[in-house]
Amino acid sequence: MTRLRTPLSRIEGLGSARSGTQHFWHQRLTAVALVPLSIWFVASALAYVGAEQGAVAAYFAAPANAVPMFLFILASTYHMSLGVQIIIEDYIHNEGQKIAALMLNRFAAWAIGAASTFALIKMALR
């Protein structure tokens, strides 16, 4: 049988989309990271969602809380963009609408991640 793929493309193992298993792997990587991070976040949120503004800002200013919160923002916004991407690719079949939705998905994830991170830095460096 004639092989049309070059030897380089076969050993790279990245397939026609040039990304291989990266999407799958990053989704699992962030999923595993989010198991402890989201449990920590829910505990923090439930303890402080009804508190005064000063208490919330002081809580996130502490390095022991600012660092896991940053990791939670990073992992959850990335995990979310990977998951919503799959849903868009599965259900939106019009090529133009699909590309627009995929762009919007990435923009929204970056906007939410950047806004949350900026707020966190502002509290931490006050």
Partner: protein
């Protein structure tokens, strides 16, 4: 792109052949319900990150901005959203662990998959109610 003769996309059915059955035809097995719920809770959590962002920005901005957030979070609508967020997170977390177990090869037998789906539904509801009640108790105690 126009439909090529052999494309899998929508094309006229020349001989009235049956289409493959879809969601509304099947009796819903619980494993299918869990799969759909996993996607829906994922979407709900994605929307929920807007509230997370709002909370952090309000806390970083000062007492006036925080008062607006606290009012929105403190009334009945806010509490419904909080419960929805907690249950979505509990379900997505537990069912995500179920998915990770499948990824390493465990739990594929049909009775096992059915049982773990029931466990995920029941445990996520229990966790969400427990977390919600705890959160309300803490915020009533600290907030006033």
């Amino acid at each position: 792109m126009a439909d090529a003769p052999n494309s899998p996309g929508p094309s006229p059915r020349p001989y009235g052949r049956p289409l493959s059955p879809h969601l509304q035809i099947y009796r819903w097995p619980i494993t299918m319900a869990a799969s759909i719920t996993h996607r829906l809770t994922g979407l709900a959590l994605a929307a929920g990150t807007l509230f997370l962002s709002w909370w952090l920005i309000a806390a970083a901005s000062g007492p006036e901005a925080y008062a607006v957030f606290a009012f929105a979070a403190g009334n009945l609508l806010g509490e419904i959203v909080l419960f929805g967020f907690l249950w979505s997170l509990a379900f997505h977390l537990l069912n995500g662990i179920r998915h990770l177990a499948w990824d390493v090869g465990y739990g594929f037998k049909v009775p096992t998959a059915k049982l773990t789906a029931v466990i995920v539904y029941a445990a996520s509801l229990l966790l969400a109610v427990a977390a919600f009640v705890l959160g309300i108790m803490v915020s009533r105690g600290l907030g006033t």
